[in-house]
Symmetry: C2
């Protein structure tokens, strides 16, 4: 079954339309952002999430910058970039995309600014599609022939453009009629696995089963899983990878069961300024996401709750990092350096 | 701070009153069961849960058996035992308690049956209190001096009588003014950690923080945890232990981080008829517990969901099993046999 690829980010020139992921899977609704503040708010509220998608949305967001006269000038563009950079701290693709927009804003004559910024944001968007396709092809050779893979959170169409990152090899194999079955961790607290990964895979006709996060050990113990594949929000230069909270535990479980553990991410996810994963800032989110999902109180009032949004998987636990420019086997500072030097 | 111990099971002779754990932490409400069917339904619906508590409630449930004339006779008692044995499959304490009730039902003259069954159920209840206290004392020596322990699901007052099992050493140390801090996994799908463990520990004045299940690896990696302690629903004769789904993953994480992993359970949790954990029947529960918590749809319609209620931790991953008659270090078929022979 072939289904038209999802396009969750649509830019009209006047506004940015984002599929509201907080309402999935029940409601498929786009929200319209008319200015930079609305884009920033949408990223903060996770209307759009996923490291590559945040970068694309932020890039288009810069194109909505306006000064007091309603015009896009250099100063308003730079202010927009600074505002958007405060939206979320962990995903590096956000800063990478904003750096590209800043470079354009600083370089081109003001008269060409609006068109040049739109061209750059569109380029980031289209490059992402090509990168996701390339990740899909590179990862497909690793997953080909496997019976079932486990994934965590959502690193698919909804987290990037079209094929996504961790799900790209699965979509690629699905096009060839031989996708593995997917087990999707529900991914507390915000349930991106249950709500988003299950939604987009079943929409594409791919066999998917949802499990609670704490069932991952059990499905591996039962021999149901051939490999684990996840995305990443930031990767240090030694291959340590930050991704959605719970990823690290899965990597430990995969190692215990002798299963390959793959990270799929575009090159823009690497932060070469960081030597190791402990330097990656980890976003701490609010209590209510854990304590009151859907508004119901599950944790008694007054009881402390932790809510780190990400964790860091040390490179020793990663079998390979799949990028659009090839696969880094057994990532280390050396293999990562060689990969990008080569 | 000393708080009166919780009594969640109250038998009046005419009815069995159970604290409705499905409504915690928001509402503290007892339901009244007037016959065996209501007790059976309460166990199935998890109004009462936790291996020792199920055994106690079922024993009292047998005392509510009545024949068509409204009298407790041998036949109605045996039928009640058979009905209650169908309520849940994994916790062996249920069958152990019902076997004790059956033995009384088969042995005593019918004229003495009602009083004898009540005496036996009361004995099971009171023995459980003493067992939990003894588990507390035995476990306290293992946890003494630790900064923080991680627990999963609820194996406290609400799962047994008063001190519970896994939480008993913590209550014991708390009486002496030196309880470790507790991290409670929320424990999807039914959130017994968030709703029940957090409720009873904070009520007793013990420092508790709730985390999502998938944060356990992160808190260990951050060095926040000294040990893991959990209860058990059934333990095979080689020390393999079935407990709430997610326990096995925690045991793997504890091993990876070099942390002790303790199982606390009364002797009645051992099923000496089973040589290994794979023989323990694992209850599979309904889709909606995972897909529609609180009635909200989180998993798209038509997408498959797995919901095993328990998993089995192999004895190799268990540092010690804490019972009311002492601690089994490094449980194996041999050390378990020696423990109960000694």
């Amino acid at each position: 079954m072939t289904v038209a690829p999802l396009t969750t980010i649509r830019f009209t020139g006047e506004s940015l339309h984002l599929l509201d992921q907080t309402k999935l899977p029940l409601v498929e609704e786009f929200i319209s952002c008319g200015d930079v503040w609305e884009v920033c708010d949408a990223i903060k509220r996770l209307v759009i999430r996923g490291a590559p998608a945040i970068g694309i949305a932020a890039a288009y967001g810069v194109c909505l910058a306006r000064n007091e006269q309603g015009l896009l000038d250099r100063r308003s563009a730079i202010e927009a970039i600074e505002l958007l950079a405060t939206s979320r701290p962990t995903a590096v693709n956000l800063f990478w995309a904003l750096d590209r927009m800043r470079s354009v804003a600083n370089r081109v004559p003001e008269i060409d600014l609006a068109a040049s910024l739109i061209a750059e944001a569109t380029a980031i968007d289209h490059e992402d599609r090509r990168m996701c396709r390339a990740i899909g092809r590179n990862g497909a050779s690793l997953l080909d022939g496997m019976t079932a893979v486990l994934t965590h959170c959502n690193a698919g169409s909804l987290a990037a453009s079209q094929w996504g990152t961790a799900l790209a090899p699965i979509y690629c194999l699905h096009e060839q009629g031989r996708s593995p079955k997917v087990f999707a961790d529900e991914t507390r607290p915000l349930l991106q696995g249950a709500r988003l990964t299950a939604w987009e895979l079943s929409r594409a006709g791919i066999d998917v089963s949802v499990i609670c996060d704490n069932m991952a050990g059990w499905v591996m113990q039962q021999g149901k899983i051939s490999a684990v594949i996840v995305g990443a929000d930031r990767i240090a230069s030694n291959g340590d990878a930050a991704n959605k909270i719970g990823t690290y535990g899965l990597a430990v479980l995969a190692r215990h069961h002798g299963l390959p553990f793959f990270v799929a991410a575009p090159s823009s996810t690497f932060d070469h300024s960081l030597t190791a994963g402990y330097q990656i800032p980890i976003e701490q989110r609010g209590r209510d996401e854990v304590a009151k999902p859907g508004g119901q109180t599950w944790v008694p009032e007054g009881v402390d709750v932790l809510n780190p949004a990400f964790d860091v998987t040390p490179h020793e636990l990663i079998t390979a990092i799949i990028t659009e420019v090839g696969v880094i086997d057994r990532p280390t500072a050396e293999t990562v350096r060689n990969h990008f030097a080569g």
